[in-house]
């Protein structure tokens, strides 16, 4: 396994800057997720590391050596895409063995077999080795695709939304599996997604991309609790963070210069009160089973907060809202408290 270092990496397509000056170090055995909306530069960054795109400026180092001019095959990276791209005419076994049968490897059949069996167990597909790859469910196909990346034992894994074509339940299962496999083999893994849940649940560190720029990098907890700016604050959290102006809802001692307040659900205290004492009201309640989303109104601003499903709140209730140590941002959107 290996580390990756991006140093001031830039790439444009015509007039469009896809990646501008990204610097990022990924340690050996680290799981880093790049999170951002479509067009933020996530996939381009991956493709630059894989060698599928050529850099305009900057350097990419794998294990300390510069690979800018190295062909993809010389970089020892494995790429897993959203589409499974398995060989439909081959069995699961042959799909897994395929990368090992490359003539350059000259691997003995018994070694190939041992490796395939090992990896099949790891991705939990060992009971279906003889099945045709087309006779598998979506989740199983993606396990095989991940397995095919694993057999080669590459220095680095690059994954581009590998779970996004699966249904919600399978995605949940595979998230956990992928994290387990990664930590078991100590793989260096760079993973891109627009799904905040995938980023939060799997990453050692999350990099938030915005228009080709790395807006912040940190552990999921750091990004969630201490976002650098308004943009980052709005990328994580369900329900979505409420962005308010400082005078709207009473709060204790905001830092000087606060122009925007970011109030996550845990920053809002709600109390039902007599209408004369209220500063807000409940518009309607969304029952999600495990929790309720309260859709609130304070002045002309709408907010969303969580409540226990068995809490007594009902639509139309007059409420008093207070903020408990919310996130504070200055004029230009940088967090100051």
């Amino acid at each position: 396994m290996s580390n990756i270092s991006l140093q001031n990496v830039s790439k444009s397509f015509g007039a469009k800057k896809a990646v501008s000056g990204i610097s990022l170090d990924i340690a050996d055995g680290e799981f880093v997720v790049l999170l951002g909306p479509t067009g933020a530069g996530k996939t381009t960054t991956l493709r630059l590391i894989a060698g599928l795109e050529k850099l305009d400026a900057g350097d990419i180092l794998i294990d300390g050596s510069r690979v800018n001019d190295e062909a993809p095959s010389g970089r020892d990276v494995a790429f897993v895409f959203q589409a499974y791209s398995l060989y439909p005419h081959l069995s699961v076994y042959e799909n897994l063995a395929f990368p090992l049968r490359a003539p350059a490897r000259k691997m003995a059949e018994s070694d190939i077999d041992a490796r395939v069996q090992d990896v099949a167990k790891m991705v939990r597909i060992d009971h279906k080795l003889q099945n045709k790859s087309t006779k598998l469910s979506g989740g199983e196909m993606q396990r095989v695709a991940i397995g095919r990346a694993l057999v080669r034992d590459p220095a680095i894994f690059l994954m581009d939304e590998p779970l996004s074509s699966l249904d919600a339940k399978l995605r949940g299962d595979l998230r956990l599996e992928l994290k387990r496999i990664q930590s078991e083999i100590g793989a260096t893994l760079l993973y891109v997604t627009h799904d905040q849940i995938e980023a939060m649940t799997m990453a050692d560190r999350i990099g938030i991309l915005s228009d080709g720029v790395l807006a912040q990098i940190g552990t999921p907890r750091e990004i969630y609790e201490k976002p650098a700016n308004l943009y980052v604050a709005q990328r994580l959290g369900q329900p979505h963070i409420n962005i308010l102006t400082p005078d709207m809802i009473p709060a204790q001692s905001l830092p000087a210069g606060t122009k925007h307040i970011g109030a996550r659900t845990e920053h809002i205290a709600i109390e039902t009160v007599a209408p004369s004492k209220a500063n807000g009201s409940i518009d309607w309640i969304e029952h999600l089973g495990d929790q309720n989303h309260l859709h609130l109104r304070a002045g002309d601003k709408k907010l969303v907060a969580l409540a226990d499903p068995f809490s007594p709140f009902k639509a139309g209730d007059a409420v008093h809202l207070t903020l408990k140590s919310p996130l504070c941002f200055d004029q230009s959107g940088n967090r100051i408290g």
Partner: protein, 365 residues
Amino acid sequence: MAEIRIENLHKSFGDFVAVHDSNFVVKDGEFLALLGPSGCGKTTTLRMIAGLELPSDGAILLDGENVTFNRARDRDIAFVFQLFALYPHMNVRKNIGFPLLAQGVPAAEIKARVEETARLLQIDHILDKPVSGLAGGDRQRVALGRAIIRRPKCFLMDEPLGTLDAEFRDVMVRELRELHLRIKATTVYVTHDQLEAMAMADKIAVMNKGVVEQFGTPQEIYNNPATLFVADFIGSPSMNLIKFEGAFRQGDNFVSIAGTKIAVPQISADLAVGKRVLGVRPEHFRFDAKSLIRAKIYGTEYLGTTQIVALEMFGAMVRARAASDLNFTVGETVGVTFETARLSLFDAETGKAVKTATTKEAAHV
């Protein structure tokens, strides 16, 4: 506005039964979600209500009138599809007003109603813009405007948010529900996304293999799933279904799994020995070092406010929801208890819920 009544509705395509004897009522002003995996018959049901598909048997009543064999255009309904087709050469105003123009409504009235509709959807500031430059959400709002302006008796929607990315879907879910609260139109909404259904609907019909397995409010369906299928389909992560064997006697208030007694709501049925399932929602786990129910931590998933903890217990993997400030180490053994009053029991042989003191009258259809 109108009530939709579905009576013994049945549809076969050759040997394949797409919809099997459905019965339900959407009350005037109610928002119903038809929820289920692909191939469960939800879209076929919707298309029969719309008149795009003829039933093999049964009846559809719209406001008391039998419309089963009426043409689609003779039913006063509006259909919103997943892919919103707008007229690309017309601006927003003309797109929204088009259905009225086609009906020969006078220009002054069209103008007034377009503006009223646009205000309702909060797109009155873009009325004179071309639709080609609009963002996804605004396009969807224009498509909705074109459906609303006719003031039909009811709205039928087939996965209208299916193509939007997650962040934006949340915004549209909220807007659709708020629009419904403003205009109170009878709505039937087809989706495979349980969160969309839970968030928007007054009532949900959960469909599986052509059969409506449960019909009720989101809370009823979440708190008291009528079948194993419903229990598994609703909730994210879904209900943990712990398998065991046992006999139940009326009045029992515990079950035994692998020699451990687990308190459950009082059982109100007698059942001979057979395959049973204990259903536990992730948020109804409690961590208690002294508990005799032991579990091994398999992994944790941080979600900000909460975390999902994957545990191995009774030889299976389960998922619990816990506050995000609790610390767990992978591989460590912990004690677990459950919130007794919120547990569900199922008979795995029939797939149906076992009645207990906390299940209200079962909502089997």
